[in-house]
Subunit: 304 residues, 2 copies
Protein backbone atom coordinates (compact mmCIF):
# COMPACT_ATOMS: atom_id res chain seq x y z
CA UNK A 1 0.00 0.00 0.00
CA UNK A 2 1.18 3.54 -0.72
CA UNK A 3 2.74 5.74 1.92
CA UNK A 4 2.72 9.54 2.00
CA UNK A 5 5.22 11.58 4.00
CA UNK A 6 5.26 15.29 4.70
CA UNK A 7 8.39 16.79 6.19
CA UNK A 8 11.52 18.71 5.39
CA UNK A 9 13.84 18.37 2.42
CA UNK A 10 17.00 20.24 3.23
CA UNK A 11 20.65 20.84 2.69
CA UNK A 12 22.73 19.87 5.71
CA UNK A 13 26.21 20.77 6.88
CA UNK A 14 27.38 18.21 9.43
CA UNK A 15 30.49 17.89 11.53
CA UNK A 16 31.14 14.69 13.49
CA UNK A 17 34.30 13.19 15.05
CA UNK A 18 34.66 11.16 11.83
CA UNK A 19 34.68 14.14 9.46
CA UNK A 20 32.68 17.01 8.05
CA UNK A 21 30.46 17.64 5.03
CA UNK A 22 29.71 21.21 3.98
CA UNK A 23 26.56 20.59 1.98
CA UNK A 24 24.57 17.46 1.31
CA UNK A 25 20.91 16.62 0.84
CA UNK A 26 19.09 15.85 4.08
CA UNK A 27 15.83 16.60 5.87
CA UNK A 28 13.33 14.38 7.68
CA UNK A 29 11.21 13.61 4.59
CA UNK A 30 14.30 12.69 2.57
CA UNK A 31 15.67 10.15 5.06
CA UNK A 32 12.16 8.82 5.69
CA UNK A 33 11.24 8.31 2.06
CA UNK A 34 14.54 6.76 1.01
CA UNK A 35 14.34 4.29 3.94
CA UNK A 36 10.66 3.50 3.28
CA UNK A 37 11.23 3.09 -0.47
CA UNK A 38 12.83 -0.33 0.07
CA UNK A 39 9.48 -1.62 1.34
CA UNK A 40 6.66 0.25 -0.41
CA UNK A 41 5.71 3.05 -2.84
CA UNK A 42 6.38 6.44 -1.29
CA UNK A 43 5.05 9.93 -2.06
CA UNK A 44 6.75 12.99 -0.62
CA UNK A 45 5.20 16.37 0.19
CA UNK A 46 7.75 19.13 0.87
CA UNK A 47 9.19 22.32 -0.57
CA UNK A 48 12.60 23.12 -2.05
CA UNK A 49 14.18 26.23 -3.55
CA UNK A 50 15.62 26.84 -7.01
CA UNK A 51 19.04 25.71 -5.75
CA UNK A 52 17.65 22.17 -5.64
CA UNK A 53 19.11 20.56 -8.76
CA UNK A 54 18.65 17.44 -10.80
CA UNK A 55 21.33 15.59 -8.85
CA UNK A 56 19.27 16.16 -5.70
CA UNK A 57 16.03 15.07 -7.35
CA UNK A 58 17.94 11.98 -8.35
CA UNK A 59 18.05 10.82 -4.70
CA UNK A 60 14.27 10.39 -4.86
CA UNK A 61 14.04 9.29 -8.48
CA UNK A 62 16.57 6.47 -8.18
CA UNK A 63 14.52 5.04 -5.30
CA UNK A 64 11.22 5.38 -7.19
CA UNK A 65 9.85 7.96 -4.74
CA UNK A 66 7.07 10.06 -6.27
CA UNK A 67 7.98 13.78 -6.08
CA UNK A 68 4.82 15.28 -7.56
CA UNK A 69 4.20 16.70 -4.11
CA UNK A 70 7.69 18.18 -3.89
CA UNK A 71 7.02 21.84 -4.60
CA UNK A 72 9.80 23.97 -6.08
CA UNK A 73 9.66 27.73 -5.44
CA UNK A 74 12.04 30.66 -5.93
CA UNK A 75 14.55 31.05 -3.13
CA UNK A 76 16.90 28.82 -1.19
CA UNK A 77 16.22 25.36 0.19
CA UNK A 78 15.98 24.87 3.96
CA UNK A 79 19.49 24.69 5.40
CA UNK A 80 20.56 23.03 8.65
CA UNK A 81 24.00 22.87 10.16
CA UNK A 82 25.05 20.89 13.22
CA UNK A 83 27.96 19.47 15.09
CA UNK A 84 28.21 16.28 17.21
CA UNK A 85 30.18 15.77 20.42
CA UNK A 86 33.12 13.34 20.59
CA UNK A 87 30.87 10.57 21.98
CA UNK A 88 28.13 11.43 19.39
CA UNK A 89 25.57 11.75 22.18
CA UNK A 90 25.20 15.53 22.03
CA UNK A 91 24.21 17.54 18.98
CA UNK A 92 24.64 21.29 18.70
CA UNK A 93 22.69 23.15 16.04
CA UNK A 94 24.88 25.79 14.41
CA UNK A 95 22.36 27.17 11.91
CA UNK A 96 18.72 26.69 10.94
CA UNK A 97 17.86 28.75 7.86
CA UNK A 98 14.22 28.01 7.06
CA UNK A 99 14.43 29.82 3.69
CA UNK A 100 11.57 28.61 1.42
CA UNK A 101 10.36 26.36 4.24
CA UNK A 102 9.33 29.45 6.23
CA UNK A 103 6.35 29.99 3.94
CA UNK A 104 5.60 26.34 3.26
CA UNK A 105 1.91 25.74 2.68
CA UNK A 106 1.57 22.04 1.88
CA UNK A 107 -0.81 21.34 -1.01
CA UNK A 108 -1.48 17.72 -1.84
CA UNK A 109 -1.83 16.73 -5.50
CA UNK A 110 -5.44 15.46 -5.81
CA UNK A 111 -4.48 11.84 -6.34
CA UNK A 112 -2.39 11.89 -3.12
CA UNK A 113 -5.47 12.41 -0.96
CA UNK A 114 -6.47 8.77 -0.87
CA UNK A 115 -3.05 7.45 0.11
CA UNK A 116 -3.80 4.87 2.85
CA UNK A 117 -0.66 5.40 4.97
CA UNK A 118 0.37 8.85 6.18
CA UNK A 119 3.47 9.94 8.07
CA UNK A 120 3.49 13.46 9.49
CA UNK A 121 7.22 14.17 9.72
CA UNK A 122 8.75 16.56 12.17
CA UNK A 123 7.36 19.99 11.11
CA UNK A 124 5.14 22.61 12.73
CA UNK A 125 2.09 20.71 14.11
CA UNK A 126 -0.18 23.28 12.45
CA UNK A 127 1.21 22.17 9.07
CA UNK A 128 0.84 18.52 10.11
CA UNK A 129 -2.85 19.19 10.79
CA UNK A 130 -3.33 20.95 7.47
CA UNK A 131 -1.91 17.97 5.62
CA UNK A 132 -4.11 15.62 7.59
CA UNK A 133 -7.21 17.68 6.71
CA UNK A 134 -6.50 17.23 3.00
CA UNK A 135 -6.45 13.43 3.33
CA UNK A 136 -9.51 11.26 2.73
CA UNK A 137 -9.80 8.84 5.61
CA UNK A 138 -6.28 7.39 5.72
CA UNK A 139 -6.00 3.89 7.13
CA UNK A 140 -3.09 4.66 9.43
CA UNK A 141 -1.58 7.98 10.53
CA UNK A 142 1.78 8.16 12.28
CA UNK A 143 3.83 11.19 13.22
CA UNK A 144 6.92 12.63 14.81
CA UNK A 145 7.61 15.88 16.64
CA UNK A 146 10.44 17.62 18.45
CA UNK A 147 11.33 19.75 21.46
CA UNK A 148 10.76 23.02 19.57
CA UNK A 149 7.08 22.25 18.88
CA UNK A 150 6.47 20.68 22.29
CA UNK A 151 7.68 23.88 23.91
CA UNK A 152 6.36 26.53 21.53
CA UNK A 153 3.26 25.02 19.87
CA UNK A 154 1.71 22.87 22.57
CA UNK A 155 -1.96 23.48 21.74
CA UNK A 156 -1.49 22.81 18.01
CA UNK A 157 0.57 19.74 18.80
CA UNK A 158 -2.15 18.35 21.06
CA UNK A 159 -4.65 18.80 18.24
CA UNK A 160 -2.37 16.89 15.87
CA UNK A 161 -1.83 14.13 18.44
CA UNK A 162 -5.58 13.47 18.54
CA UNK A 163 -5.37 12.48 14.86
CA UNK A 164 -2.33 10.24 15.13
CA UNK A 165 -2.44 6.49 15.68
CA UNK A 166 1.30 5.97 16.20
CA UNK A 167 3.64 8.58 17.63
CA UNK A 168 7.32 7.89 16.94
CA UNK A 169 9.59 10.10 19.05
CA UNK A 170 12.87 9.90 20.89
CA UNK A 171 13.18 9.43 24.63
CA UNK A 172 14.01 13.03 25.56
CA UNK A 173 11.03 14.27 23.52
CA UNK A 174 8.78 11.68 25.16
CA UNK A 175 9.88 12.94 28.57
CA UNK A 176 9.37 16.58 27.64
CA UNK A 177 5.96 15.94 26.07
CA UNK A 178 4.65 13.89 29.00
CA UNK A 179 6.42 15.52 31.94
CA UNK A 180 7.37 12.00 33.08
CA UNK A 181 10.95 10.76 33.33
CA UNK A 182 10.00 7.09 33.56
CA UNK A 183 9.36 5.85 30.02
CA UNK A 184 6.50 3.51 30.98
CA UNK A 185 4.68 6.45 32.54
CA UNK A 186 5.69 8.77 29.69
CA UNK A 187 4.27 6.34 27.11
CA UNK A 188 1.02 6.01 29.06
CA UNK A 189 0.65 9.80 29.29
CA UNK A 190 1.34 10.18 25.57
CA UNK A 191 -1.16 7.47 24.69
CA UNK A 192 -3.77 9.35 26.74
CA UNK A 193 -3.23 12.33 24.40
CA UNK A 194 -4.42 10.35 21.36
CA UNK A 195 -1.95 7.90 19.82
CA UNK A 196 -2.88 4.31 20.64
CA UNK A 197 0.71 3.29 20.03
CA UNK A 198 3.89 5.05 21.16
CA UNK A 199 7.27 4.12 19.71
CA UNK A 200 10.14 5.57 21.71
CA UNK A 201 13.50 5.76 19.94
CA UNK A 202 16.46 5.57 22.30
CA UNK A 203 19.42 6.10 19.97
CA UNK A 204 22.16 3.56 20.59
CA UNK A 205 20.00 2.02 23.32
CA UNK A 206 17.42 0.74 20.85
CA UNK A 207 13.68 1.32 20.60
CA UNK A 208 10.57 0.39 22.58
CA UNK A 209 6.97 0.03 21.45
CA UNK A 210 4.12 0.65 23.88
CA UNK A 211 0.54 -0.42 23.17
CA UNK A 212 -2.42 -1.54 25.19
CA UNK A 213 -1.07 -4.43 27.27
CA UNK A 214 2.06 -4.84 25.17
CA UNK A 215 5.65 -3.66 25.37
CA UNK A 216 8.28 -4.66 22.82
CA UNK A 217 11.94 -3.64 23.07
CA UNK A 218 14.75 -4.14 20.62
CA UNK A 219 18.34 -3.15 21.43
CA UNK A 220 20.40 -1.23 18.91
CA UNK A 221 22.90 -3.16 16.82
CA UNK A 222 26.30 -2.51 18.44
CA UNK A 223 28.24 -0.67 15.72
CA UNK A 224 31.95 -0.12 15.83
CA UNK A 225 31.98 2.90 13.53
CA UNK A 226 29.31 5.60 13.56
CA UNK A 227 30.09 8.30 11.02
CA UNK A 228 27.02 10.52 11.23
CA UNK A 229 23.91 10.08 13.40
CA UNK A 230 21.93 12.62 11.35
CA UNK A 231 18.72 11.15 9.98
CA UNK A 232 18.87 7.93 12.00
CA UNK A 233 15.50 8.59 13.64
CA UNK A 234 13.82 9.50 10.34
CA UNK A 235 15.32 6.41 8.70
CA UNK A 236 13.95 4.33 11.58
CA UNK A 237 10.49 5.83 11.03
CA UNK A 238 10.78 5.19 7.28
CA UNK A 239 11.72 1.55 7.69
CA UNK A 240 9.00 1.08 10.31
CA UNK A 241 6.21 2.71 8.29
CA UNK A 242 7.39 1.24 4.99
CA UNK A 243 7.22 -2.26 6.44
CA UNK A 244 3.77 -1.61 7.97
CA UNK A 245 2.44 -0.21 4.69
CA UNK A 246 3.66 -3.31 2.87
CA UNK A 247 2.49 -5.93 5.36
CA UNK A 248 -0.56 -4.81 7.34
CA UNK A 249 -3.89 -6.16 6.17
CA UNK A 250 -6.13 -3.30 5.02
CA UNK A 251 -8.97 -2.52 7.38
CA UNK A 252 -7.72 -4.62 10.30
CA UNK A 253 -6.30 -3.63 13.66
CA UNK A 254 -2.54 -3.33 14.13
CA UNK A 255 -1.16 -6.85 14.26
CA UNK A 256 1.71 -7.49 16.74
CA UNK A 257 3.19 -9.99 14.28
CA UNK A 258 3.61 -7.11 11.85
CA UNK A 259 4.40 -4.34 14.35
CA UNK A 260 7.35 -6.15 15.93
CA UNK A 261 9.23 -6.88 12.70
CA UNK A 262 8.42 -3.30 11.66
CA UNK A 263 10.27 -2.00 14.74
CA UNK A 264 13.23 -4.22 13.84
CA UNK A 265 13.25 -3.09 10.20
CA UNK A 266 13.14 0.49 11.49
CA UNK A 267 16.20 -0.30 13.61
CA UNK A 268 17.88 -1.90 10.58
CA UNK A 269 17.42 1.26 8.49
CA UNK A 270 18.63 3.48 11.35
CA UNK A 271 21.74 1.33 11.71
CA UNK A 272 22.57 1.70 8.01
CA UNK A 273 21.95 5.46 8.09
CA UNK A 274 24.66 6.17 10.67
CA UNK A 275 27.36 4.12 8.94
CA UNK A 276 28.19 6.87 6.44
CA UNK A 277 27.59 10.60 6.13
CA UNK A 278 24.12 11.73 5.12
CA UNK A 279 22.27 9.38 2.76
CA UNK A 280 25.44 7.86 1.33
CA UNK A 281 24.82 4.36 2.68
CA UNK A 282 21.04 4.43 2.88
CA UNK A 283 20.45 5.26 -0.78
CA UNK A 284 22.61 2.42 -2.11
CA UNK A 285 21.27 -0.58 -0.24
CA UNK A 286 19.93 -3.83 -1.60
CA UNK A 287 17.02 -5.69 -0.16
CA UNK A 288 19.39 -8.60 0.47
CA UNK A 289 21.59 -6.38 2.66
CA UNK A 290 18.52 -5.23 4.57
CA UNK A 291 17.34 -8.79 5.16
CA UNK A 292 20.84 -9.89 6.20
CA UNK A 293 20.92 -7.14 8.80
CA UNK A 294 17.48 -8.15 10.03
CA UNK A 295 18.98 -11.59 10.63
CA UNK A 296 21.81 -9.92 12.56
CA UNK A 297 19.20 -8.43 14.89
CA UNK A 298 17.73 -11.88 15.28
CA UNK A 299 21.13 -13.34 16.25
CA UNK A 300 21.76 -10.37 18.54
CA UNK A 301 18.58 -10.86 20.56
CA UNK A 302 17.54 -14.50 20.36
CA UNK A 303 17.55 -16.70 23.48
CA UNK A 304 15.71 -19.86 24.44
CA UNK B 1 27.89 -26.87 40.94
CA UNK B 2 28.97 -24.72 43.87
CA UNK B 3 29.74 -21.04 43.51
CA UNK B 4 32.07 -18.98 45.70
CA UNK B 5 31.87 -15.20 45.95
CA UNK B 6 34.25 -12.80 47.64
CA UNK B 7 33.12 -9.22 48.12
CA UNK B 8 31.72 -6.79 50.62
CA UNK B 9 29.06 -7.33 53.24
CA UNK B 10 27.96 -3.95 54.50
CA UNK B 11 25.41 -1.75 56.12
CA UNK B 12 23.95 0.78 53.72
CA UNK B 13 22.12 4.07 54.15
CA UNK B 14 20.27 4.93 50.97
CA UNK B 15 18.18 7.90 49.87
CA UNK B 16 16.21 7.76 46.62
CA UNK B 17 13.27 9.81 45.28
CA UNK B 18 11.02 7.03 46.63
CA UNK B 19 12.25 7.20 50.25
CA UNK B 20 15.18 6.68 52.55
CA UNK B 21 16.54 3.88 54.71
CA UNK B 22 19.03 4.68 57.48
CA UNK B 23 20.60 1.26 57.91
CA UNK B 24 20.07 -2.01 56.10
CA UNK B 25 22.22 -4.93 55.10
CA UNK B 26 23.91 -4.51 51.72
CA UNK B 27 27.25 -5.03 50.02
CA UNK B 28 28.24 -6.62 46.71
CA UNK B 29 28.67 -10.16 48.14
CA UNK B 30 25.29 -9.98 49.86
CA UNK B 31 23.29 -9.02 46.75
CA UNK B 32 25.31 -11.46 44.66
CA UNK B 33 24.86 -14.45 46.94
CA UNK B 34 21.15 -13.91 47.61
CA UNK B 35 20.50 -13.59 43.83
CA UNK B 36 22.65 -16.63 43.00
CA UNK B 37 21.11 -18.73 45.78
CA UNK B 38 17.95 -19.27 43.70
CA UNK B 39 20.03 -21.21 41.18
CA UNK B 40 22.88 -22.97 42.98
CA UNK B 41 24.74 -23.50 46.27
CA UNK B 42 26.64 -20.36 47.25
CA UNK B 43 29.59 -19.79 49.59
CA UNK B 44 30.47 -16.29 50.71
CA UNK B 45 33.89 -14.94 51.73
CA UNK B 46 33.78 -11.55 53.46
CA UNK B 47 34.28 -9.83 56.80
CA UNK B 48 31.82 -8.22 59.22
CA UNK B 49 32.14 -6.53 62.62
CA UNK B 50 30.61 -7.36 65.96
CA UNK B 51 27.61 -5.16 65.12
CA UNK B 52 26.56 -7.81 62.61
CA UNK B 53 23.76 -9.62 64.39
CA UNK B 54 21.73 -12.78 64.01
CA UNK B 55 19.02 -10.99 62.05
CA UNK B 56 21.68 -10.06 59.46
CA UNK B 57 23.10 -13.57 59.33
CA UNK B 58 19.54 -14.64 58.71
CA UNK B 59 19.61 -13.03 55.23
CA UNK B 60 22.20 -15.63 54.20
CA UNK B 61 20.86 -18.50 56.30
CA UNK B 62 17.30 -18.28 54.98
CA UNK B 63 18.68 -18.57 51.43
CA UNK B 64 20.93 -21.51 52.30
CA UNK B 65 24.11 -19.52 51.64
CA UNK B 66 27.14 -21.00 53.40
CA UNK B 67 28.74 -18.37 55.67
CA UNK B 68 31.70 -20.37 56.96
CA UNK B 69 33.85 -17.92 55.01
CA UNK B 70 32.14 -14.89 56.55
CA UNK B 71 34.69 -13.80 59.12
CA UNK B 72 33.53 -11.87 62.16
CA UNK B 73 36.05 -9.58 63.88
CA UNK B 74 35.90 -6.88 66.56
CA UNK B 75 34.86 -3.48 65.25
CA UNK B 76 32.17 -2.09 62.98
CA UNK B 77 30.93 -3.52 59.70
CA UNK B 78 31.71 -1.68 56.44
CA UNK B 79 29.25 1.22 56.05
CA UNK B 80 28.20 2.91 52.82
CA UNK B 81 25.83 5.81 52.38
CA UNK B 82 24.55 7.21 49.10
CA UNK B 83 21.90 9.33 47.48
CA UNK B 84 20.28 9.04 44.02
CA UNK B 85 19.22 11.87 41.72
CA UNK B 86 15.57 12.46 40.83
CA UNK B 87 15.91 10.46 37.58
CA UNK B 88 17.90 7.72 39.43
CA UNK B 89 20.71 7.99 36.88
CA UNK B 90 23.24 9.68 39.16
CA UNK B 91 24.49 8.34 42.47
CA UNK B 92 26.38 10.42 45.02
CA UNK B 93 28.37 8.65 47.71
CA UNK B 94 27.93 10.41 51.05
CA UNK B 95 30.09 8.13 53.19
CA UNK B 96 32.34 5.09 52.82
CA UNK B 97 33.54 3.84 56.20
CA UNK B 98 35.67 0.76 55.52
CA UNK B 99 35.81 -0.16 59.24
CA UNK B 100 36.71 -3.87 59.58
CA UNK B 101 36.93 -4.12 55.80
CA UNK B 102 40.04 -1.92 55.85
CA UNK B 103 42.12 -4.80 57.24
CA UNK B 104 40.32 -7.59 55.40
CA UNK B 105 42.63 -10.49 54.63
CA UNK B 106 40.47 -13.12 52.95
CA UNK B 107 41.18 -16.65 54.21
CA UNK B 108 39.31 -19.48 52.52
CA UNK B 109 38.13 -22.38 54.67
CA UNK B 110 40.02 -25.41 53.30
CA UNK B 111 36.96 -27.08 51.79
CA UNK B 112 36.17 -23.87 49.84
CA UNK B 113 39.34 -24.17 47.77
CA UNK B 114 37.93 -26.66 45.30
CA UNK B 115 34.75 -24.71 44.54
CA UNK B 116 34.39 -24.91 40.74
CA UNK B 117 32.83 -21.45 40.16
CA UNK B 118 34.41 -18.28 41.52
CA UNK B 119 33.16 -14.71 41.44
CA UNK B 120 35.60 -11.99 42.45
CA UNK B 121 33.24 -9.22 43.58
CA UNK B 122 34.09 -5.57 43.47
CA UNK B 123 36.96 -5.23 45.99
CA UNK B 124 40.64 -4.22 45.79
CA UNK B 125 42.13 -6.24 42.88
CA UNK B 126 45.02 -7.23 45.14
CA UNK B 127 42.50 -8.99 47.41
CA UNK B 128 40.82 -10.54 44.37
CA UNK B 129 44.20 -12.02 43.36
CA UNK B 130 44.86 -13.32 46.85
CA UNK B 131 41.54 -15.17 46.84
CA UNK B 132 42.24 -16.57 43.40
CA UNK B 133 45.65 -17.86 44.58
CA UNK B 134 43.96 -19.88 47.34
CA UNK B 135 41.71 -21.67 44.84
CA UNK B 136 42.58 -25.03 43.30
CA UNK B 137 42.01 -24.79 39.57
CA UNK B 138 38.47 -23.36 39.44
CA UNK B 139 36.47 -24.21 36.34
CA UNK B 140 35.26 -20.66 35.71
CA UNK B 141 36.38 -17.34 37.20
CA UNK B 142 34.34 -14.17 36.74
CA UNK B 143 34.82 -10.77 38.31
CA UNK B 144 33.72 -7.19 38.66
CA UNK B 145 35.58 -3.97 39.35
CA UNK B 146 34.90 -0.25 39.66
CA UNK B 147 36.24 3.20 38.83
CA UNK B 148 38.19 3.47 42.08
CA UNK B 149 40.36 0.43 41.30
CA UNK B 150 40.67 1.26 37.60
CA UNK B 151 42.08 4.65 38.53
CA UNK B 152 44.13 3.84 41.62
CA UNK B 153 45.17 0.17 41.28
CA UNK B 154 45.69 -0.29 37.56
CA UNK B 155 48.67 -2.68 37.72
CA UNK B 156 47.03 -4.96 40.29
CA UNK B 157 43.78 -4.89 38.34
CA UNK B 158 45.56 -5.92 35.14
CA UNK B 159 47.07 -8.87 36.98
CA UNK B 160 43.62 -9.92 38.20
CA UNK B 161 42.15 -9.54 34.71
CA UNK B 162 44.62 -12.10 33.36
CA UNK B 163 43.01 -14.68 35.66
CA UNK B 164 39.39 -13.86 34.84
CA UNK B 165 37.33 -15.60 32.14
CA UNK B 166 34.30 -13.30 32.32
CA UNK B 167 34.43 -9.65 33.33
CA UNK B 168 31.04 -8.20 34.31
CA UNK B 169 31.15 -4.41 34.53
CA UNK B 170 28.96 -1.44 33.76
CA UNK B 171 29.31 0.73 30.68
CA UNK B 172 31.07 3.69 32.30
CA UNK B 173 33.60 1.33 33.91
CA UNK B 174 34.15 -0.42 30.57
CA UNK B 175 34.87 2.93 28.96
CA UNK B 176 37.23 4.00 31.73
CA UNK B 177 39.08 0.67 31.75
CA UNK B 178 39.52 0.54 27.96
CA UNK B 179 39.82 4.22 27.10
CA UNK B 180 37.26 3.60 24.33
CA UNK B 181 33.84 5.25 24.26
CA UNK B 182 32.40 2.87 21.67
CA UNK B 183 31.32 -0.29 23.51
CA UNK B 184 32.31 -2.68 20.71
CA UNK B 185 35.84 -1.30 20.83
CA UNK B 186 35.79 -1.15 24.64
CA UNK B 187 34.81 -4.82 24.84
CA UNK B 188 37.55 -5.81 22.38
CA UNK B 189 40.17 -3.88 24.37
CA UNK B 190 39.00 -5.47 27.63
CA UNK B 191 39.06 -8.95 26.11
CA UNK B 192 42.66 -8.31 25.03
CA UNK B 193 43.49 -7.79 28.74
CA UNK B 194 42.49 -11.36 29.61
CA UNK B 195 38.77 -12.09 29.93
CA UNK B 196 37.51 -14.07 26.94
CA UNK B 197 34.01 -12.82 27.65
CA UNK B 198 32.92 -9.28 28.58
CA UNK B 199 29.45 -8.59 29.93
CA UNK B 200 28.62 -4.89 29.93
CA UNK B 201 25.75 -3.82 32.18
CA UNK B 202 23.93 -0.75 30.95
CA UNK B 203 21.47 -0.04 33.76
CA UNK B 204 17.99 0.64 32.41
CA UNK B 205 19.33 0.13 28.89
CA UNK B 206 19.95 -3.58 29.42
CA UNK B 207 23.09 -5.67 29.09
CA UNK B 208 25.35 -6.86 26.28
CA UNK B 209 27.61 -9.91 26.11
CA UNK B 210 30.73 -9.86 23.92
CA UNK B 211 32.65 -13.01 22.99
CA UNK B 212 34.68 -14.19 20.08
CA UNK B 213 32.40 -13.70 17.07
CA UNK B 214 29.29 -13.27 19.19
CA UNK B 215 27.31 -10.35 20.58
CA UNK B 216 24.11 -10.79 22.56
CA UNK B 217 21.99 -7.91 23.82
CA UNK B 218 18.98 -7.91 26.09
CA UNK B 219 17.02 -4.75 26.88
CA UNK B 220 16.03 -3.97 30.46
CA UNK B 221 12.48 -4.73 31.49
CA UNK B 222 10.66 -1.37 31.45
CA UNK B 223 9.68 -0.82 35.09
CA UNK B 224 7.21 1.77 36.21
CA UNK B 225 8.47 2.04 39.78
CA UNK B 226 12.12 1.87 40.73
CA UNK B 227 12.58 2.26 44.48
CA UNK B 228 16.31 1.71 44.92
CA UNK B 229 18.90 0.87 42.24
CA UNK B 230 21.49 -0.18 44.88
CA UNK B 231 22.73 -3.71 44.29
CA UNK B 232 21.12 -4.14 40.85
CA UNK B 233 24.48 -4.85 39.19
CA UNK B 234 25.53 -7.32 41.89
CA UNK B 235 22.15 -9.05 41.66
CA UNK B 236 22.60 -9.26 37.89
CA UNK B 237 26.00 -10.89 38.39
CA UNK B 238 24.53 -13.28 40.96
CA UNK B 239 21.70 -14.39 38.69
CA UNK B 240 24.10 -14.75 35.77
CA UNK B 241 26.75 -16.76 37.62
CA UNK B 242 24.18 -18.77 39.57
CA UNK B 243 22.54 -19.89 36.34
CA UNK B 244 25.91 -20.72 34.74
CA UNK B 245 27.01 -22.73 37.77
CA UNK B 246 23.77 -24.70 37.62
CA UNK B 247 23.66 -25.33 33.88
CA UNK B 248 27.12 -25.42 32.30
CA UNK B 249 28.55 -28.83 31.63
CA UNK B 250 31.71 -29.34 33.70
CA UNK B 251 34.90 -29.22 31.68
CA UNK B 252 33.40 -27.89 28.44
CA UNK B 253 33.68 -24.50 26.79
CA UNK B 254 31.11 -21.79 27.47
CA UNK B 255 27.95 -22.75 25.62
CA UNK B 256 25.96 -19.88 24.01
CA UNK B 257 22.74 -21.77 24.77
CA UNK B 258 23.60 -21.43 28.46
CA UNK B 259 25.26 -17.99 28.35
CA UNK B 260 22.28 -16.24 26.76
CA UNK B 261 19.66 -17.42 29.27
CA UNK B 262 22.21 -16.61 32.00
CA UNK B 263 22.30 -12.98 30.82
CA UNK B 264 18.50 -12.91 30.89
CA UNK B 265 18.32 -14.46 34.38
CA UNK B 266 20.86 -11.85 35.47
CA UNK B 267 18.55 -9.16 34.10
CA UNK B 268 15.61 -10.80 35.87
CA UNK B 269 17.38 -10.64 39.25
CA UNK B 270 18.47 -7.03 38.63
CA UNK B 271 14.88 -6.07 37.83
CA UNK B 272 13.62 -7.58 41.10
CA UNK B 273 16.38 -5.91 43.13
CA UNK B 274 15.34 -2.36 42.21
CA UNK B 275 11.64 -2.86 42.95
CA UNK B 276 12.09 -2.37 46.69
CA UNK B 277 14.73 -0.95 49.04
CA UNK B 278 17.82 -3.05 49.66
CA UNK B 279 17.26 -6.81 49.66
CA UNK B 280 13.60 -6.55 50.59
CA UNK B 281 12.27 -7.98 47.32
CA UNK B 282 15.25 -10.10 46.32
CA UNK B 283 15.35 -12.20 49.47
CA UNK B 284 11.69 -13.19 49.34
CA UNK B 285 11.30 -14.48 45.79
CA UNK B 286 10.04 -17.82 44.60
CA UNK B 287 11.48 -19.72 41.69
CA UNK B 288 8.03 -19.45 40.04
CA UNK B 289 8.22 -15.63 40.19
CA UNK B 290 11.71 -15.75 38.68
CA UNK B 291 10.58 -18.00 35.84
CA UNK B 292 7.50 -15.85 35.22
CA UNK B 293 9.71 -12.80 34.87
CA UNK B 294 12.00 -14.68 32.50
CA UNK B 295 8.90 -15.25 30.36
CA UNK B 296 8.23 -11.51 30.52
CA UNK B 297 11.67 -10.92 29.00
CA UNK B 298 10.76 -13.41 26.30
CA UNK B 299 7.55 -11.55 25.49
CA UNK B 300 9.39 -8.23 25.62
CA UNK B 301 11.99 -9.21 23.04
CA UNK B 302 10.53 -11.90 20.80
CA UNK B 303 9.92 -11.21 17.08
CA UNK B 304 9.64 -13.44 14.03
Amino acid sequence: MRLLVVGSVAFDAVRTPRGAVERMIGGSATYFSVAASYFTEVRVVAVVGDDFGDEHHQVFAERGVCTEGLERVPGKTFFWSGEYSADLNERRTLATDLNVFGNFEPKLPPHYRQTPYLFLGNIDPELQSRVHRQMENPQLVAGDTMNLWIESRRAQLEETLRKIGILIINDSEARLLSGEHNLVKAARAIRAMGPQTAVIKRGDNGATLFRDGEIFSVPALPLEEVHDPTGAGDSFAGGFMGYLAAHLNPGTALDPDVLRPAIVFGSVMGSFAVERFGLERLRRLTRAEIDARYDEFRRLTRFE
